[in-house]
C-alpha cells in the first residue's frame, strides 16, 4: 500500500539530477517525501516538522548533494535520526532499594493495560521474583475477573477488594504484598481519557499513596495524531517513567512510538506482541525505525549507499 520511501526519494533525486547540480532547494523536495512517509505512519504533524528540520540540516551539511546515491544517503540519515530519537535507556524496571517495587500501568481505554500487567508479572515470575497483581479498575465491567483469569493462567496471585475505591485497593494491595513477601506489585488501573479530570485526579492520589518506582503509560501502536495530547497530559500529571507500546503484532506502522517519545522524553521500555500472555519483549529502536519508514530492508539499503 505504501510506496517505498527510498524509491520515491531516488526518483526525486534522479529527476533533479537531470537539471544538473543538486541544490539545497532540491533537498526540500526530498523532505516532502519524508514528511509524507512519516505522516502516513501516524507520526504527529508537529513532531514530523521538527524531525524534518533536523534531517534537512544534516542532509545539507553532509555530502548528500554530491553523492551518487543521494536517495539512500537521505534514507540513511532519516533512519539514524529516528533510531537515535527512539533509543535511550534500557528495557528495565527500576527496582526499589527496599521491596516491594511498585509499578502502575496507566492509559486510555482498551490500550492493553490489563493484558500487559499479566505479561509483566509473568516476565518477573520467570526471573524468580514474586509478583502480585492488584486489580484497581473498579469501573470496567468484569475488569477484576479479567485480571483474576490472567493471574490464574500464569500462577501469579491477584489482589482485589470489593466495594473499595481504586486508591484504597492500591494501598491495601501494597500491604497485602508486604504480608505475602511479594517483591513486585503491579497495579492495573482503569482506562481513562486524559481529559477526564476526576479520573486523572484519582491516579494522582494513587501515586501519592503507593509511591511507585515506575508509572508506565500503555499506548496502542495503532494510535493516530492524538497520541501527542494523551502522552503530554498523562506525563504532565503523573510524571510517567516509561512507555509500553502494545499490539505491535499488527500491521500498523506505529508512528505513535516517535510521537510519544518526543512528547514525554520517556523511553519505550517494552512492546506487546500478542493477546496471549507471554513475557513482554524489549523495544528495539532500529526495528521500529524501519517499520515507521515502511521498509523491512533499510539496513541492506543503507549498506549500498
Amino acid at each position: 500500500m505504501f510506496e517505498s520511501l527510498s524509491n520515491n526519494l531516488q526518483a526525486v533525486f534522479q529527476r533533479l539530477r537531470g537539471r544538473g547540480r543538486l541544490t539545497e532547494a532540491d533537498v526540500d523536495e526530498a523532505m516532502r517525501e519524508i514528511r509524507r512517509a512519516l505522516l502516513a505512519a501516524d507520526v504527529n504533524v508537529k513532531v514530523v516538522r521538527e524531525f524534518v528540520d533536523r534531517v534537512r540540516a544534516r542532509a545539507v551539511g553532509q555530502d548528500v548533494l554530491k553523492s551518487l546515491t543521494p536517495g539512500q544517503q537521505v534514507v540513511k540519515i532519516v533512519y539514524e535520526e529516528l533510531t537515535e530519537l527512539m533509543g535511550g535507556s534500557q528495557a528495565r524496571i527500576r527496582m526499589a532499594p527496599k521491596p516491594p517495587t511498585v509499578v502502575m500501568l496507566v492509559g486510555l481505554q482498551g490500550a492493553g493495560k490489563t493484558t500487559t500487567a499479566a505479561k509483566l508479572a509473568l516476565a518477573f515470575r520467570q526471573q524468580n521474583h514474586r509478583p502480585l497483581l492488584v486489580a484497581a479498575d473498579v469501573y470496567r465491567p468484569a475488569a477484576v475477573d479479567q485480571l483474576k483469569v490472567l493471574g490464574g493462567q500464569i500462577d501469579v496471585p491477584v489482589f482485589s477488594l470489593d466495594g473499595a475505591s481504586a486508591v484504597e485497593i492500591a494501598e491495601a494491595g501494597l500491604r497485602d504484598a508486604e504480608r505475602r513477601g511479594a517483591d513486585l506489585v503491579i497495579v492495573d488501573t482503569a482506562g481513562r481519557l486524559h481529559i477526564d479530570e476526576a479520573l486523572m485526579a484519582e491516579l494522582e492520589s494513587m501515586k501519592k499513596v503507593v509511591e511507585p518506582q515506575e508509572i508506565l503509560l500503555v499506548v496502542d501502536a495503532m494510535t493516530g495524531q492524538d497520541a501527542v495530547h494523551v502522552a503530554e497530559t498523562f506525563h504532565q500529571r503523573l510524571e510517567v517513567t516509561g512507555v509500553i507500546l502494545t499490539k505491535l503484532d499488527g500491521d500498523a506502522r506505529g508512528g505513535a512510538a516517535l510521537t510519544v517519545r518526543a512528547a514525554t522524553g520517556c523511553p519505550i521500555k517494552f512492546v506487546g506482541m500478542g493477546e496471549k500472555i507471554e513475557p513482554l519483549e524489549p523495544f528495539h529502536p532500529e526495528r521500529m525505525a524501519s517499520r515507521i519508514l515502511g521498509m523491512g530492508d533499510v539496513l541492506s539499503l543503507i549498506e549500498r549507499a
Binding site: D145, Q146, M222, T223, G224, D226
Partner: protein
C-alpha cells in the same frame, strides 16, 4: 437531553480545540495558499490522512471559488458543506422483516465492540424491541462475564458457552434462541482480532457463514468498530474486514476524547462503507446515530452556535 445536544456535548471538547485553531488560523486573513495549507494540516491532525486531506482541501478551494468567498472567516461554512457531502447521507440499520435481525460486531482488539453492543442493546430495548446477545468472544479472559454484566445492566438475555468453545456455535445457538423466543434482534459479540492474522480472520468468516446458513439473509448488519483514536491503520482495518465479512457499517468509538475520528473520511472514500454510529463514552446512553453534517460541523465550525 435531545439527540443533537448529546452529540454536541460529547464533541464539545474536541471541537473547542479544533475551533480555536481554525479561528486563529482564519481570522482576518485573505484567501491565499497559506490558509489552505493550514487547513490541510488541521485535517491531517484529525487523522484524515495526507491524500484525503489534500483531496478535501482541493474540493473546498473549488467550492470557495465558486461561491466567491473572499474572507477566510467564511471558509468554515464551505468546509462543513464539502465535508458533509463527502461523507454521504445518513445511513439506517438494516432490518429483517421476517424474523430476527442478526447483527455481527467485529473489529480489532480493544476497539469498543462489547461496550457498543451493550449500548446498542439498550437503544433497541428502549424502542420496545426484544434483543438477545451472543457471547461469541470465547477467547479473551472474562469477555463473557463482561457481556453478561452489560446484559444485566440493560435487561437482555445473553446466550453463552464456556470460555474456549467454538464461537460459531454460540452464534448458531443465539439465532436458534431468537427464532424460538421471537426476538427482534440478535447482536453477536466477537473476539477482537488484528486484520493481519489470517487464521483469526478465517474464524470470523466461518462465524458469518454459520449465521448465513442458519437464517437466510443473515447477518443483516456487520458492524466494524473502529477506535476513534486510530490513525491510518483504520483504513487497512476497513479494507480487510470488509473483504472477509462484508462489513455494512462503521461504528467510531471514543469520540468523547480529543481524537477526531478523521480516519472515517478515507474509509468512506476508498471502501464506501457508511458510518452508522458513534460512541461518546462508557455509559449505555453514550451511543449516537452518525450524522455526517453534525460530524463535519463538530470538526470545522469555529463557533459553537448551530
Amino acid at each position: 437531553m435531545g439527540l443533537f445536544d448529546r452529540f454536541r456535548k460529547g464533541l464539545e471538547k474536541s471541537r473547542a480545540a479544533m475551533a480555536d485553531r481554525l479561528l486563529s488560523v482564519f481570522r482576518g486573513r485573505k484567501l491565499d495558499d497559506s490558509v489552505f495549507d493550514e487547513m490541510e494540516e488541521t485535517l491531517i491532525l484529525s487523522d484524515v490522512g495526507v491524500d484525503t486531506a489534500a483531496e478535501l482541501v482541493e474540493a473546498i478551494r473549488r467550492e470557495a471559488r465558486k461561491r466567491r468567498i473572499e474572507r477566510a472567516e467564511d471558509l468554515p461554512d464551505v468546509m462543513v458543506d464539502v465535508m458533509a457531502d463527502f461523507l454521504g447521507s445518513q445511513s439506517e440499520m438494516a432490518e429483517n422483516p421476517d424474523g430476527p435481525t442478526v447483527v455481527l460486531v467485529v473489529g480489532v482488539n480493544g476497539a469498543g465492540k462489547t461496550t457498543t453492543i451493550g449500548k446498542l442493546a439498550h437503544a433497541y430495548k428502549s424502542q420496545g424491541k426484544r434483543v438477545i446477545l451472543a457471547a461469541a468472544d470465547t477467547f479473551r479472559a472474562a469477555a463473557i462475564e463482561q457481556l453478561m454484566v452489560w446484559g444485566e445492566r440493560v435487561g437482555v438475555d445473553v446466550v453463552r458457552h464456556a470460555q474456549g468453545s467454538d464461537p460459531a456455535a454460540v452464534v448458531y445457538d443465539a439465532i436458534q434462541a431468537a427464532k424460538a423466543r421471537r426476538c427482534d434482534l440478535v447482536i453477536c459479540d466477537t473476539a477482537g482480532r488484528l486484520q493481519n492474522k489470517a487464521h483469526l480472520m478465517n474464524e470470523l468468516a466461518k462465524i458469518r457463514k454459520v449465521a448465513e446458513r442458519e437464517l437466510p439473509g443473515a447477518p443483516h448488519e456487520v458492524l466494524l468498530v473502529i477506535d476513534g483514536t486510530t490513525g491510518q491503520n483504520g483504513l487497512v482495518q476497513a479494507r480487510v474486514f470488509k473483504e472477509v465479512v462484508q462489513v455494512t457499517g462503521i461504528v467510531v468509538t471514543k469520540l468523547d476524547g480529543t481524537a477526531k475520528g478523521g480516519i472515517v473520511f478515507p474509509i468512506v472514500r476508498e471502501e464506501g462503507i457508511p458510518v452508522k454510529w458513534i460512541g461518546l463514552g462508557e455509559g449505555m446512553d453514550d451511543l449516537q446515530p452518525f450524522d455526517p453534517r453534525m460530524f463535519a460541523e463538530a470538526i470545522c465550525r469555529p463557533e459553537t452556535r448551530v
